[in-house]
């Protein structure tokens, strides 16, 4: 099957002159219909910027975004409209993603009417009620007349999902979609998103900083790890979580605090050589992780940007130091 979304050498720079930073640097990946891909990394790694470029909300400095095999910049207006509606985004903050001056009804009926998904207002209202049921906001009749601030964070996030569903999307960029929702409710939203995947054939690009959530949501899918604008490793979730190959992925996994006291006590920690993330304004040469990497090899890691190489266990990794060498390097 052809990928629904593919990005090639996607690059985004912000600012001018000395202040110029490369937020996303030559990122390439492809997502097949029905796949679940998680984009994982710490703040400033470019994951959200990548997501917004994929959703067509931010223009790339160079490189291309392909929707069903065609560059979105070369789509004619009808095709672009289809892309716009097929690819939707769900934001992190449910308090800023809904307009406080509109009722849930107004929020949901506007796109339905605009894109002629329904004949008239009455039909739009009815369809809005149906969609609210889909996102488990029941009873829908109680919710539809409310304003966003009358709902809890979790309910608002469901409204945001419902709004995306009004235009029958096939690809949803979920940008930290549950990180601001109460812990006890997160799972139910993830379960709801997983149901959309099955019932409406929605493909997800799930962006998160939380590896445990990524593992849970994309257990059957893939995880892509970004560091300072570049992909350092990707691969099937189960392999990446249990057998991480890039030192950064390993450091990340070992650093995640665990909600289990014994595990927390016994988890092996990888000691980094430096704690601070370099500034995007002054990126280290070569592999940008080298100043912190425990397996740093002078002359190799700081010389050239390592390319992503395919792994026999699935996925790709960008590290010039082989696994066999690493053990000796640690001592």
């Amino acid at each position: 099957m052809a990928p629904i979304i593919e990005v090639r050498n996607l690059t985004k720079q912000f600012g001018k002159g000395k202040e110029r930073v490369t937020a996303v640097d030559s990122v390439s990946f492809a997502i097949e219909p029905g796949e679940t891909v998680c984009l994982v990394g710490e703040s400033g790694c470019g994951k959200s910027t990548t997501g917004r470029m994929v959703a067509g909300l931010l223009e790339a400095t160079s490189g291309e975004v392909l929707f069903e095999g065609k560059n979105i910049k070369q789509l004619d207006s009808a095709a672009f409209r289809r892309y716009r509606q097929t690819v939707q985004i769900i934001h992190q903050d449910p308090y800023s993603s809904l307009n406080p001056t509109q009722t849930i009804s107004q929020i949901l009926t506007a796109p339905l009417l605009r894109h002629n998904k329904v004949k008239n207002r009455v039909a739009a209202e009815a369809r809005a009620l149906e969609i609210l049921e889909v996102v488990d906001l029941t009873p829908a009749r109680d919710v539809i007349a409310k304003y966003p601030h009358q709902l809890s964070g979790g309910q608002r996030q469901r409204v945001a999902v419902a709004r995306a569903l009004t235009v029958d999307p096939k690809f949803i960029v979920a940008d930290e979609a549950v990180s601001m929702v109460d812990v006890s409710i997160r799972v139910s939203i993830l379960t709801m998103l997983a149901r959309l995947k099955k019932e409406f054939d929605v493909t997800f690009l799930f962006i998160t900083h939380d590896l445990a959530l990524a593992k849970y949501f994309a257990w059957e899918g893939r995880i892509t790890v970004m560091y300072l604008g570049r992909i350092v490793e990707d691969g099937p979730t189960q392999r990446l979580i249990n057998d991480p190959r890039h030192p950064y992925t390993q450091a990340l996994l070992s650093a995640v605090p665990e909600a289990d006291p014994e595990l927390a006590q016994h988890k092996r920690q990888i000691e980094l050589r430096g704690a601070e993330i370099p500034s995007l304004l002054a990126l280290p040469p070569g592999c940008t992780f080298h100043p912190r990497c425990p397996y740093f090899v002078p002359g190799r890691c700081d010389a050239a940007v390592p390319a992503l190489e395919a792994l026999d266990v699935g996925g790709r990794v960008a590290c010039p130091v082989r696994r066999q060498e690493r053990v000796s390097l640690l001592v």
Partner: protein
Amino acid sequence: MMGVIQGIWHWLTTTLKLMTYNKAGFIGFLATCAILIICLIGPFFIPLDTKTKLDQIYQPPSAEHWFGTDHQGRDIFSQIVHGGKDVIYVAAIAAFLSTFIAVTFGTLAAFAGGKVDSGIMGVTDIILTIPQFPLLAVLAAFITFDNITYLGLFLGALSWPALLRAVRSQALSLKERDFVEAARALDLGTGHIVFRELVPNMMTYIVISFTLALTAAVYTQVGLVLLGLVPVSSSNWGVMISLAWTQGAIFFRDAMWRIMMPILAIALFQLSVITMTRSLELAFNPRLRTMV
């Protein structure tokens, strides 16, 4: 039809309820209403005293003449009642026009960005640097403002730049909000984004700017009249001050009431409007509105 009436009723009751949350603001609102009623409806009930009564000149306030009398023994109160309408009318026209220009082009500049933005901001900066009052004074020499509507439009056409800059910066920050980005992703169109997403969230700001433009227009207008640059013939608070002044009212004590009363009327109106903005701030706050 019933729905519309209910909607309007709900809007009005919500607005009033929110206005009462700030006591000073609500008093300002009541005072503004009172002044408007007196100035707009008063003239139909209180005839303008035009008869010269030489035995009654420059009387202090009394039960018969609430605000005293002028140099021809005419009742000042009746003049005040008749003199407010034009002042408020001109100020309202000016405020409407400047708010309209500022909101429309300010949001457009913020939203369109690029060349449109720099174009609009260029014009704005040029107009902002022109000293308005002297310009008006010069213009008054060439154009006769015999129609007060023109005067209002003219004041409005010159007083929008500061407000436009403020609206633009508001819109710029709102534009970055996720719900605007979501509207873009949903392809809801620029019209929808400006009028449904941005403007409703700027309502507090717009309403307050409107009242401030209103007060500014009152001062500019009175200033122009006082300097005699605008030959407005009808009775008007500005004309009253101007006449009293040119006839030397500031030099003798008996004439104090004649010059003080229109000044007080203007000050009271301005004070009421400005205090009222405290309540307006609450009434048009989208969050508070939906909480009632």
